[in-house]
Amino acid sequence: MGFYLAQLLTGLANASSLFLIACGLSIIFGVTRIVNFAHGSFYMVGAYLAYSLVTWMDGGIFGFWLSLLVAALIVGVLGLIVEVTILRRIYHAPELFQLVATFGVVLIVQDAALAIWGAEDLLGPRAPGLARAVRILGEPIPEYDLALIVIGPLVLGAIWLLFHRTRWGILVRAATQDREMVDALGVNQRWLFSAVFVLGSALAGLGGALQIPREAVSLQMDLSVIGEAFVVVVIGGMGSVSGAFVAAVLISVLNAFAILIFPQISIVLPFVVMAVVLIVRPYGLFGRPGSEAGGAEEPEQPLRLMSRRGAMVLAAFVLILAASPAVTGDFTSILLVDVMVAMLFAVSLHFMMGIGGMVSFGHAAYFGVGAYAAAMGMKYLGLSMLPAMALGPVAAAGAALLFGWFCVRLSGVYLAMLTLAAAQILWGVTYQWGEVTGGDDGILGIWPAGWASGDKAYFYLAMVLCVGGMFLLRRMAHSPFGYGLRGVRDSAVRAEAIGMDVKLHQWMGFTVAGAFAGLAGVVFVFSKGSVFPDVLGISQSVDGLIMVLLGGIHALAGPILGAGVFILIEDWVTRLDYWRVIFGGIILVVVLVAPDGVAGGVDRLLRAVGIRRGDAT
């Protein structure tokens, strides 16, 4: 009996921590409709600041709690700076821009934290006065856990009062539903948004600060917490604070008991809970279908078949590409394989996002599944290269079938969050399941068959697969299937009214995109000879998003251009120290300065000099 109570209390303490992080994210999303990746960074900075302040003050109980509060406040100020300088400019941009911009902030904060606090994990002190454990029914319960159990509901109550009993709170809730109308009724929503962002960031900071007696402060805290926080927000209903609380309790308590039966379940459990909840309630426990993000976008122009001249230009490019190994060195061939892999990955993501209108924050999942399936096929099934290569897209399509079934039940940013969660789960499984996937050490020694093992030979194999994959995706974009996807994106209601099976169509679109991402993963794994869990990670997913964004989402050629530019920049930047700051800065500049992407920029340039008139892509 005592043992189960102890498990319950541990679960509730975890729920409090999780709630603090998730509720800030949920509040910010509710009002600004921004999916804030940097929320994890605020959490991490809160922990680092609290560590420094507590160590520096060293002032007993009062000093400890004061330090935590001050840390939260400083994070709030940091949030204000981010909101005013960056987010304020992109409230009306599509969610893709917003997500990528906040990821730029993640990169910059990572390097800043590295510069200030160093790469070592920092072990915080215990909370003075709460350092021991009390015995309840004979089981030791850390006093600090009990404090956390109290703090969570206290914060929930305070936020509830703030939102329902103050004029400010009513205005915030009104802005959640219709920001423009709130503005037209005389409320300066700029400051409303800023205030909300400060509140949300400070809560993340507080969440991080409260963690220091429980876990070491590290540079991985930001991205490791964000996936779970997203899951909690989605389960609770985006924008709902009480929902976040219930979801946090549900996950944490279930987890506390489930690990007794199956210790590895921690990583998969949140996803399973989320899947179950979303099947029953597509907008989460307390969520409602809210107004969609961003402002009215300009309608996309109709697709055109490629003109004869366009086809000739393209053929010339392919020929130059094919001839390049003959005139350049092996190093260039290797780089070009990277470029082609990125291009296929980006085109597959664009197929899903640009054509299908399903924004994926976790497309790396299918890239990674493809790569791992090929590697494991070789290692465990003893397949030779070509069958292993075939296994990759098939496995990726299978994973996309599984996760896509859930994802297409949702739309917009909810769908995007679910794709992210799916990718995080797969990443977690790969990372934890060391006996099969090699865990952090990855799988090594996955080299091409003898006939394809030379750099030039592999280049041609990669070219056939990648260019072929891109050709097929393009062909599909022009087929009834691709048109159907665009139709569903334009108006699901109209698609249904002409007798289309909207969900099935999206599901198949999701699967096709996953399969081709898997193909890119296969080409990738044989060019590197090894595979590690980070191919499924958030960074890889965001890389794909940046490529699509760089290229501009409205053109079929966009992702190809974007991927090319991306790899070249990355190849140059990652040789530098503190490359994350530089890369994050580049991302922010692109988002803030050239929102229609490189393709859009080139297009404008061509129009300006009169080379190009109407004909697109």
């Binding site: 996309e300 599909m476 048109y483 108006s491 109209r494 007798g499 169509h505």
Partner: protein
């Protein structure tokens, strides 16, 4: 024989009866209007006919076949076309492509991964566009169309499935009076030439009285009157709950 037979259609939301025991018939080639105050249950009724809501009780038969329990897309395929109060089209496609999509779906070619969609059913699409006088705009992007033209395009799209019944939800909402007359006249011609029956909701009483063959009046979920324009206009109950003193419309009847 009736094209549509609605019997005892009922639906409650949280204990409140939104639609209660609604029964009516719709004859071949008939133009039937469903009117009533906001919240009377018109939309709920429509949504049960096209499959978006499942009735608690009652039956809906199209040419003798039961529609209740089927999915919206199945009902479309059985011959119920619809137009929307706020037009819904594929804005990133041309006018012709919009009709081609409906034809591709009608011919069950949606999961063709290889053919070029723009080359499919071009002739049929143009014929349908001719019918609504939109042929000259076939190559224009849908996003550039005027509002009235979008409404006509929706008609062409609905006809791609060769429907027996057309459900039109406030077909003239947001249009200027002359456009309203033109659209309803066009619909009338199509009804005649193709033998389609039409059920429509409408708030513009001038449109209703000028075009409907028969009118149903819904109030608080129940049918309170049924009859010709003149009968409905003179009905004191309808005047009280809906038409008012007649000062805000011209009401030059048929």
């Amino acid at each position: 024989m009736s094209v549509l037979e609605v019997r005892d259609l009922s639906k409650s939301f949280g204990g409140v009866e939104a639609v209660a025991d609604v029964s009516f018939d719709l004859g071949a080639g008939e133009f039937l209007a469903l009117i009533g105050p906001n919240g009377a249950g018109k939309t709920t009724c429509f949504n049960m006919l096209n499959g978006y809501l499942r009735p608690d009780r009652g039956s809906v038969k199209l040419e003798g076949r039961e529609l209740v329990g089927r999915r919206p897309r199945a009902i479309v395929r059985m011959g119920v076309g619809r137009t929307f109060q706020i037009t819904r089209t594929f804005l990133s496609m041309t006018v012709r492509e919009n009709v081609q999509m409906a034809l591709i779906s009608h011919h069950k070619r949606m999961f063709d991964f290889w053919s070029r969609a723009v080359r499919m059913y071009e002739g049929e699409a143009d014929a349908l566009l001719d019918l609504v006088s939109m042929r000259d705009q076939a190559a224009r992007p849908c996003s550039e169309l005027a509002y009235g033209d979008l409404k006509r395009l929706e008609l062409a799209i609905a006809l791609a499935h060769e429907p027996a019944l057309l459900l039109m939800d406030e077909p003239t909402a947001g249009m200027a009076p002359s456009e309203r007359v033109a659209l309803m006249a066009l619909t009338g011609e199509i009804v005649k030439s193709r033998g389609v029956s039409v059920l429509f909701t409408e708030h513009d009483m001038d449109v209703v009285f000028a075009h409907a063959h028969r009118i149903l009046v819904l109030n608080r979920g129940r049918l309170i009157a049924e009859g010709s324009g003149a009968e409905i206009r003179e009905n004191p109950l309808v005047q009280e709950v809906y038409l008012g003193g007649g000062t805000v419309f011209a009401a030059e009847g048929v």
